[in-house]
Subunit: 350 residues, 2 copies
DNA sequence: TAAAAGCGTGCAATCGATTGCAAAATCGCA
DNA sequence: TGCGATTTTGCAATCGATTGCACGCTTTTA
């Protein structure tokens, strides 16, 4: 490998001059600069980034900690982060931690030891807030729960708004009997989406019914099971809003099972706008989760922190990103008489 | 930041001793070792990996170049690579190159400059073979085309076997009129899958029919369009095999459009086993692409190269990984009389 | 014409950890 | 008690690039 010393020798100058010339330092005469550049080129010189970064005490890299990049949504976050970083001249190093706090801690330590310039923690279910600060690295959180008082930067998707918008969209469609199949009760996002749902109902003076609220486990199967309960009840809803796309697909299965047509007899909405929403039949109406933007924002926020002050200071920067209703084929305006449909359902179940 | 010198001072020993003690070098007396470890712990010592790697001329990192990790399949590759690397004590750095050869070149250079120990190039459409070797980095390719003579390591999914297995599976189901909707003609994987298809037909002495072979563009829409042509022809196939899941879903749409039931009237197969295959209705029978395993193998192969010889030597290590038929709900045994169905189709289209 | 200012370059230290070699300390055994 | 053998430890160089400071030379200014 050729180093600046080799170039210095070839050029008959000192390594210091070579270093400055290659950095286009104006202190070096134009003639020398050009000559050195030429020689470096000829000799196939490549800077040793480890040496440089070591000397500079900074690696120009930031770390992204995620549970699993191969998940579609995390992948979008990674892309967004990467794009933002690129603009600032940083490189991204990803570590999957698979919901394992030990691995997460290891990753954070590694990033610190590598003199990374910052860390982004994407929606792990873990609570590493206690650990990161002690590494003295600038960091920002994505979709993690933290109280508004925590002195950290965080960017989140607006779950409240998502729940609200979805519900209001269904109300706009004249639905009044709107059921909600939520995620597990102890998930932060579940709680927020539920709040949005009830808020929207309240705003439009629609009674809140406990029997229209169910808690699933995010999986298709639970959506199916809970929707079956809803559809077979005495007073079935005319629209079902599920807290993610997988459960929504379960809801559609349940509707089919009960002989209900989607969207003619029941409207169904999902949440997340994953690829499966587009490929479901009928195509699923859902709420988009702008993960790419979220990643970008987190990336920019981090770069900004690095550029100026450094550490997460007293101010809690809380950025909320709002998704949109993605209107597809599982929702339709409510029409008065679903009687035929329910008869069909009975026939079907006989 | 506390360095080994700080520890040395605190312990009243030399930095050399501290370095060795922390590395558990048996040359250092047990007593000293333990004392130094304790002091290091107390002082919150963390090794500076940039310094270490710089000295060692190796970063213990390998780079993964992929078009886009947020793609489900690339994501699986990344996970596999990461797992393999973890076992060997390496860390993975991912760079998305988005099918851009300039970015790819930049990424390769960056990896070289960072003194990475190796590179894995995952299915980019580009031909960087000319560039990588000159960086003198060990590397392995994933799903890239290269002739058997190239002196490099490569791991691929076995497209030929996939095409063959899918076709044979349909033949097993007594289908004789099997159409194939391929990807673009100039894709290596398209060609191989097609060869597998024709080979399987030949093996079972089923005539090869040019009108049963179509070329799509991987997207849903092209599957739909081409399947429509097939179903409306004079002699429609009883089974359609599409070269990926997206097109297969288009095929199902086309079948529905023609009043054909899947799988009762036509069987449909996809390829890739993406998440959408599981969420399609009916659930799509398809060929799995064991990307996780592929990633693992590539990771291990690279680590092996790094561990022993280094550079890709004369021997071309070509590993083929075979997918499996994932049997779901879009395929069924052929039954003699689909006449009713085609009448329905005509009614439907009137 | 001498002093001041400016330009271009080199010296040498530095970042933190590792490691070959030599020196010092300890031990064993006669 | 003494000397070689063995165990522990330290010295100093090294990896490659960067940078504060100073030196020498040229140009400008008074």
């Amino acid at each position: 490998m050729v180093s600046i010393y080799d170039i210095a020798k070839a050029a008959g100058m000192s390594a210091a001059t070579v270093s400055r010339a290659l950095a286009d330092n104006p202190k070096i005469s134009r003639a020398s600069r050009e000559r050195i550049h030429r020689i470096a080129e000829e000799m196939g010189y490549r800077p040793n980034l480890l040496a440089r970064n070591f000397r500079q005490k900074s690696s120009s890299m930031i770390g992204l900690i995620t549970d699993d990049v191969s998940d579609e949504l995390s992948g979008m976050i990674a892309k967004g982060v990467e794009q933002a970083l690129r603009e600032h001249g940083f490189t991204m190093l990803v570590r999957n931690v698979h919901h394992d706090s030990e691995i997460e801690q290891e990753a954070i330590d590694y990033f610190g030891d590598m003199q990374m310039d910052g860390v982004i923690l994407a929606d792990s279910t873990l609570d590493a807030l206690a650990d990161v600060p002690k590494t003295k690295l600038p960091f920002v959180l994505i979709n993690r729960y933290c109280s508004a008082e925590d002195p950290i930067s965080i960017v989140c998707t607006d779950d409240f708004a998502g729940g609200y918008d979805a519900t209001e969209y269904l109300i706009q469609l004249k639905h009044r009997k709107i059921a909600y199949i939520n995620g597990p009760e102890d998930w932060y996002s579940s709680i927020r989406r539920l709040t949005g749902y009830t808020e929207a109902l309240g705003k439009h003076e629609i009674g809140y019914r406990a029997d229209y609220i169910k808690h699933g486990n995010w999986f298709e199967d639970s959506g199916y099971r809970l929707a079956l309960e809803l559809f077979r009840s005495d007073d079935p809803p005319t629209a079902v809003f599920a807290a993610n796309d997988m459960m929504a697909i379960g809801v559609i299965d349940a509707a089919r099972e009960c002989g209900l047509r989607v969207p003619e007899d029941v409207s169904v909405m999902g949440y997340d706008d994953r690829t499966i929403a587009k490929y479901a039949r009928p195509r699923l109406t859902t709420i988009s989760l702008p993960m790419f933007e979220v990643g970008m924002m987190a990336g920019h926020a981090l770069c900004e922190m690095i550029a100026k002050g450094q550490m997460p200071d007293g101010k809690s920067d809380r950025l909320l990103v709002r998704g949109k209703v993605i209107e597809r084929d599982t929702t339709a305006p409510y029409k008065a008489e679903p009687t035929i449909a329910s008869e069909t359902a009975q026939d079907f179940n006989k």
